[in-house]
């Protein structure tokens, strides 16, 4: 088993990329992702990681270079955040449409304007439909574990899709946590070398990225969608294998003190740990509350989610971004959609908060839960509640 050390999560993430023996890292610096690629540049400069580090001139080129390197068969990593992810936007679709197993860490950040380098989930929600597998992490240990799993998932021949590992900017990326770093030899055994079935090489010429006339475009998208809907099986398999080897298990949807609870709070990302403390505190006061956390955002785990909320009366959802002029919280609206056809479905109360680095403390979560239960009991005509707005 690995060593337990105190380390900044971004640095640990970069060390996990080293453990995965990446071949190419192409990246552009952007807060709060910067420490990740800085440390990777150091590892390459010191000869500790034998990889090509391509210091590109923009995020658009970062992901474009990753496309090229992945198409050439190399194990490829990049990291970005906020505006950088937006600048990559059109390239994201190409990477998934071409079925290239690129691994990307996203240190989640708010989007301008007003300019904010601090964290929320606006960047992740803006790229929701780009065809990437997307995993949200809760703590530093999970970041390390999920990065290693991400390579194995993306490169699996039943998958061959790019994957984003989301970690909350600053709230997670910049904290120092006790993390057990896996041994290199164990990672080697767990993660076989990349072997893509089709690569750009003169020994076997292939054409990639041809243009598709209307007669085949739909079929190409359908094939991609079928691949996407099948990956959950592989993801669960890889997480199970990881649990067997490293002792830490992960699931698409996880429950905390949900037994018998009629009200559940729903969270994604690192705020889930704060929410757990709020649940503990309220449970001690006799409040009937549990926490449900979503780890796998794409593909959305419909079955596991529906099973987890079965029999629940109220679902309180925290979104850390706004679908402006629309239903309010993008996550809450997805959950409503997932429950629409269920006969016995919970009432969904949608909260938006934690935007642009605004913290939500344990007290804040307790308040949210109390308010949410009151709203559920009395009913409301508002689509969502915006929390923490200073009048």
């Amino acid at each position: 088993m690995g060593r337990r050390i105190g380390i900044e999560v971004s640095i640990a993430l970069a060390d996990a990329v080293k453990l995965a023996n990446a071949d190419v890292i192409a990246a552009y610096p952007i807060t709060p992702q910067t420490h990740i690629v800085e440390h990777l540049a150091e590892l390459v400069a010191e000869g500790e990681l034998d990889a090509e580090y391509v210091p590109v001139e923009s995020e658009h080129s970062a992901l474009s270079a990753c496309l090229g390197s992945s198409a050439a068969g190399a194990r490829t990593f990049t990291a970005t955040a906020g505006q950088g992810l937006e600048l990559m936007h059109e390239v994201l679709y190409v990477a998934s449409g071409m079925r290239l197993p690129i691994v990307m860490a996203v240190a989640n950040r708010a989007l301008s304007s007003p300019l904010s380098v601090w964290g929320d989930h606006s960047d992740a929600m803006a790229v929701r439909d780009t065809g990437w597998i997307q995993v949200f992490t809760e703590n530093g240990q999970e970041v390390v574990d999920q990065i290693i799993c991400a390579f194995k998932i993306a490169e699996d021949h039943n998958v061959l899709l790019p994957i984003m590992v989301h970690l909350d900017g600053f709230h997670l990326s910049h904290v120092i946590e006790p993390i057990e770093m896996p041994e290199e030899s164990d990672v080697c055994e767990f993660l076989p070398p990349i072997h893509s079935p089709l690569t750009l090489h003169p020994s076997k010429p292939v054409a990639m990225g041809d243009f598709a006339p209307p007669v085949v475009f739909t079929e190409a998208k359908w094939a991609q969608e079928q691949a996407m809907s099948g990956v959950k099986k592989t993801i669960i398999q890889v997480w199970d294998e990881y649990a067997q080897k490293f002792g830490r298990s992960y699931h698409p949807v996880e429950c905390y003190k949900c037994e018998g609870a009629k009200t559940l709070l729903f969270t994604m990302g690192s705020f889930s740990e704060t929410a757990m403390s709020a649940v503990d505190s309220l449970r001690a006061k006799g409040v009937d509350i549990g926490l449900i956390r979503l780890r796998l955002w794409r593909p959305f785990p419909f079955e596991e989610f529906r099973a987890a909320v079965k029999g629940v009366k109220t679902l309180l959802v925290l979104d850390r971004s706004i679908s402006s002029g629309g239903p309010g919280g993008p996550v809450a609206s997805e959950l409503k959609a997932a429950l629409y056809n269920e006969a016995d479905k919970p009432a969904v109360v949608s909260f938006i908060g934690g935007l642009g680095g605004r913290d939500i403390t344990v007290d804040g979560f307790e308040q949210l839960i109390t308010d949410g239960m009151r709203i559920a009991a009395s009913g409301t005509d508002k689509e969502y509640e915006m929390i923490g707005v200073r009048e």
């Binding site: 001139e57 090229g68 390197s69 050439a72 390239v91 292939v206």
Partner: protein, 306 residues
């Protein structure tokens, strides 16, 4: 180049990596240029194609005109994708997961993809010194989308977004000097070429591939559809572009300029423009103004090559 003897054609490869059978318009100078360039690539080559005429011409699924590994991703990122391929191959060869061999990485793009939207990615790739060859097929507008102006469109030329009207007479800006921009990056090889001079073109592509580091070649590609000219005069117009000084042929090796072809006396600009209806609205005084600038720029170039 004028001294190349008649046997030169026999030395050209008979292989056609850019296969016969594609969707280019009649008289397409670019398809010809791509075919000649591909002969110089050799089989150990990976081609990265920007969105544009040549991607549409050569790649409609399930067909391909390429006998080489080929990839198209987006309009503006061919230089960045090529950077990634070069880095990916390098890392895998160093780590022993791919056999060690020389593989050429060639990015090809039109003038819109190069001088406009893709300039940043190209500049970044040249600055980083990737070992790749970038070919810009310059037909002086966004032809694939229907003849809109680019920053390679010459002054005065009418396109659908620089139309000749009562107030403005065609393109209002002078052609961006992309080869000079490439030279300013300090890369080992920059050149211009034209398929009307096929051996020169092939030779330059070979040179560009042979240098270690980035090489940039801008290739004049006559476009009868966009230039509003007859389809049987593409070769003639390419020659006239060179002979009038509109598109001088030269190369810059490690900063040293060399003219590839020096006409004894430049032909009159009118000989070139009168064959293209994109210039038909131009008044004699505008043509004279353009000609004066063409001659001045040509003389400056010849001076640099001395």
């Amino acid at each position: 180049m004028q001294n190349l003897n008649i046997y030169a054609s026999r030395l050209v490869s008979k292989e056609e990596p850019f296969a016969p059978g594609h969707r280019a318009c009649i008289g397409c100078g670019e398809a010809l240029a791509v075919r000649l360039a591909a002969k110089a690539f050799g089989p150990n080559t990976i081609v990265v194609n920007a969105t544009g005429c040549m991607e549409i011409v050569a790649s409609q699924y399930p067909y391909t005109s390429w006998q080489l590994p080929w990839i198209h991703t987006l309009f503006e990122n061919s230089a960045a994708v090529a950077s990634g391929i070069e880095a990916g191959l390098k890392a895998q060869m160093r780590k022993g997961t791919l056999p060690q061999e020389d593989i050429n990485v060639v990015a090809i793009a039109g003038d819109g993809a190069t001088l406009d939207i893709g300039l940043q990615a190209l500049s970044g790739a040249m600055e980083r010194g990737h070992n790749f060859l970038y070919l810009c097929f310059d037909n002086e507008a966004y032809m694939n989308t229907g003849i809109q102006r680019s920053s390679a469109t010459p002054f005065g030329a009418a396109t659908t977004t620089s139309p000749a009207g009562k107030v403005h007479a065609g393109q209002l800006s002078w052609k961006k000097n992309m080869p000079e921009i490439a030279v300013a990056h300090g890369i080992p090889y920059v050149a211009t070429a034209c398929p009307s001079y096929p051996f020169d073109l092939i030779e330059k592509v070979k040179k560009g591939l042979a240098v270690k580091g980035p090489a940039y070649i801008q290739i004049m590609s006559v476009c009868p559809t966009g230039w509003r000219c007859d389809t049987d005069i593409s070769i003639l117009l390419g020659r006239l572009a060179v002979e009038t000084g509109v598109f001088p042929l030269y190369e810059v090796e490690n900063g040293r300029y060399k003219m590839s072809m020096e006409p004894q006396k430049l032909k009159s600009l009118q000989e070139y423009t009168k064959l293209q209806r994109r210039f038909r609205h131009l008044k004699p005084e505008t043509l004279a103004q353009i000609e004066a600038r063409v001659v001045e720029e040509y003389e400056n170039l010849v001076e640099k090559a001395k």
